[in-house]
């Protein structure tokens, strides 16, 4: 009995630091953000006394639906493109020789050695009307001289994919590395073509990696703010930009908090959906429903 209590206590002791960390730096601020939404703003950018529902009403701003829609489709597109690129990459990395694998892994992580801001500015230079990429494309006759590669939703999407790609590759590679590739052989042995084996055995096999990649890319994408700020224009604003604008320009903290709270809820919904999905594996298989 005593030993059990002691074991319990020691477990608590080990968990305590991270628990306190999460409590103080994640849960409390989140609650504060939700709370500030119901506070009145002051003219000097502070938080006033009392409680109000005014901020909630101003969130019905007619500009917001378009911005929210853009945020969602950019994030969904970025996530889809990242996973589409990362899956064959993860497959390749799991199959290649260990020496080559280390090299590729290094190349995937290499961008992190340079500051995030610097890398985005590098894209700005590349995409600039007088930049290397633009001039090359014009020279090749692929785009007209008047086409702008910068300051639109497409440049934002491009840089988002560039930035988030490693976060999709790493979990997919981690899952693929654990995947038993003899299953692919087994599938081919049973008459499946390479593509069919990939789809019906490999993809379900790395399902956890795919879901993790989805979360790792989709959630930060929803909150993007630096990328649309630097390579995007007024027509490619995302919620992140609006939050920043309300905080730093309008100095309306409750309004910014309201938008942030909205974003948090928007992020939580797919997360909860996926964790429940991951928790209970359907007893019947997917193959059956897909009907191959």
């Amino acid at each position: 009995m005593k030993a059990e209590t002691r074991r319990h206590a020691s477990e608590w002791l080990v968990t305590l630091p991270s628990f306190v960390w999460l409590l103080l730096l994640f849960l409390v601020p989140t609650v504060l953000v939700f709370a500030i939404t119901f506070k009145p703003p002051t003219p000097y950018g502070g938080i006033g006394e009392g409680w109000t529902l005014n901020t909630l009403r101003t969130l019905g701003n007619p500009n917001y639906p378009a911005i929210i829609w853009r945020t969602v489709w950019l994030s969904v597109a970025a996530t889809a493109i990242c996973i589409l690129l990362a899956t064959p990459m993860g497959y390749y990395m799991a199959r290649v020789s260990p020496a080559r694998r280390r090299l590729v892994l290094l190349l995937v992580i290499l961008p992190f050695w340079t500051s995030f801001l610097v890398r985005i500015f590098a894209w700005k230079v590349l995409l600039h009307p007088e930049g290397l990429l633009k001039n090359t494309l014009v020279f090749l006759g692929l785009v007209g001289a008047e086409t702008s590669l910068l300051y639109n939703a497409w440049s934002v999407l491009l840089v988002m994919v560039y930035t988030e790609l490693p976060f999709a590759i790493l979990p997919i590679y981690a899952a693929a590395e654990k995947f038993d590739f003899r299953l692919i052989e087994a599938a081919k042995d049973l008459g499946a073509s390479s593509f069919c084996a990939f789809r019906s055995v490999f993809l379900p096999g790395i399902r956890v990696g795919l879901l993790t990649a989805f979360l790792m890319v989709f959630i930060p994408s929803l909150g993007s703010y630096v990328i649309p700020d630097i390579v995007g224009g007024p027509t490619s604003e995302m919620i992140g930009n609006k939050i920043a604008q309300r905080t730093f320009v309008d100095r309306n903290l409750p309004h910014a908090a309201g938008l942030s709270a909205f974003l948090t809820v928007a992020v939580l919904i797919p997360m909860i959906a996926i964790t429940t999905l991951r928790g209970k594996e359907s007893p019947r298989d997917t193959l059956r429903e897909e009907g191959i």
């Binding site: 087994a186 042995d189 049973l190 499946a192 069919c196 007893p283 019947r284 193959l287 191959i292």
Partner: protein, 412 residues
């Protein structure tokens, strides 16, 4: 249809390693054929070449007269049972079995009846919706068999299918495999390092060593008349005596009735240190003065306290019992004679307790007929190393080595 499955001069190299070295082999339809050998002998490579996972460097593979060498795995009418079973973990037992039929886009009704038939065959009708990690090792094995058989392959390839099972389950699956083979009548190509499995299941088997076939024949042929000392040591236990061939013996004439018939068997005297007067049947016409290894199976030796009565071609040597291992149905004796530690197996065909069994440290005589010994080429250190190699890639439980190392001459 005798030439159902043919390997013609097949070779496969991995870098400098010759995994398969110009192997030609013919398997009959419906046959249970085994490829037996220590790890790295090329047996699995040969199987993978037939399955289509490896391309041979030379030679071709014919299945029912058709050249399948360049066909991809999914276009070959062969199916494999993998050592690890390779069941799809995300699919139920039912869907695992149905996989091949679904990929082949067979009608739903047919898939349902065929899978149900297979579930009955493996007696797992009530487990159809379980996932592979919810069933036992033996059940996984059976699902793997069903998943392959449901496609009605022309050849079923089995890659060490029992290696991951524990001894008891292995013995049971051995019987089941045999029954299934009898029932479906498909050609089985069975790869194993376990001579016990190969001997008990196969119609014929090929013993492989370093990418080549050492000997091909029925289990009886291979056990009773091993062609090389490697085969003698790998299949079952044997005793080796190191020596040279001496002069041939005069051909014996046996008086049969009124006619004197010369028996045309050749016997040679052997020069083996410590044992000057041994004889051996010399069927291979080995010439005088050649170095040989005399191989005698432990159960072919007789052990007695008294010197056996001299008889034509009866060899007898004297020794001291060093170890007695009582095994119930038989007793294994280790007898020291000169520089050799000889293993002798004595079957208990009579009630043992009434006898006065031979005990430790007793002086005994070991005798055998000259016909029971085999003169083979030198048993090399390389052979010994190959036989001692652990089986490649063992599953959940490692199979215990169920054959001891052969009695070895103590080299001076």
């Amino acid at each position: 249809m005798s030439e159902f499955l043919q390997f013609e001069d097949v070779s496969k190299h991995y870098g400098d390693v010759k995994a398969v070295d110009h192997v030609s082999l013919t398997v009959k339809q419906g046959e249970f054929f085994s490829l037996l050998g220590p790890s790295g002998c090329g047996k699995t490579t040969l199987l993978r070449i037939l399955a289509g996972f490896e391309q041979p460097d030379t030679g071709r593979v014919l299945l029912g007269g058709e050249d399948v060498t360049d066909l991809p795995p999914y276009e070959r009418k062969v199916n494999t049972i993998f050592q690890s079973y390779a069941l799809f973990p995300h699919l139920s037992v039912w869907d695992n079995i149905a996989f091949g039929l679904k990929v082949a886009k067979r009608p739903r009704q047919e898939i349902q009846t065929e899978v149900a038939k297979m579930l009955t065959l493996i007696q797992m009708e009530d487990q159809a919706w379980k996932k592979p990690d919810q069933i036992s090792g033996g059940q996984k094995q059976r699902v793997a068999i069903a998943r392959a058989l449901v496609n009605k392959p022309r050849v079923l390839l089995l890659d060490e299918p029992l290696a991951a099972l524990d001894l008891k389950l292995r013995q049971r699956m051995l019987i089941e495999l045999d029954l299934i083979h009898d029932e479906v009548g498909i050609t089985f190509l069975y790869v194993t390092h376990d001579q016990g499995e190969a001997m008990s299941l196969s119609d014929r088997l090929a013993v492989m060593k370093l990418g080549r076939i050492e000997q091909l024949g029925t289990p009886e042929e291979i056990y009773e008349a091993p062609r090389t000392s490697f085969v003698a040591a790998f299949i079952g236990d044997t005793n080796f005596f190191n020596g040279t061939v001496a002069e041939p013996l005069e051909k014996h004439s046996v008086l049969e009735g009124f006619l004197s018939v010369a028996v045309d068997k050749d016997y040679s005297r052997l020069h083996i240190e410590d044992f000057p007067d041994l004889e051996c049947y010399n069927d291979k016409q080995i010439k005088e003065g050649e170095q040989i290894f005399l191989s005698i199976r432990p159960e072919k030796l007789r052990i007695s306290r008294e010197r056996p009565k001299p008889a034509p071609h009866l060899n007898a040597i004297e020794g001291v019992v060093e170890d007695v291992i009582y095994l119930g149905s038989q007793t294994k004796y280790w007898v020291r004679a000169g520089d050799y530690r000889i293993s002798v197996i004595r079957q208990h065909s009579r009630f043992l307790l009434d006898e006065n069994p031979i005990r430790w440290r007793e002086k005994v005589w070991i005798s055998w007929h000259a016909d029971d010994g085999f003169m083979l080429e030198k048993y090399s250190a390389q052979d010994e190393n190959l036989i001692q190699l652990p089986p490649e890639e063992v599953g959940e439980t490692s199979p215990d080595p169920n054959h001891a190392a052969p009695a070895q001459p103590v080299l001076r």
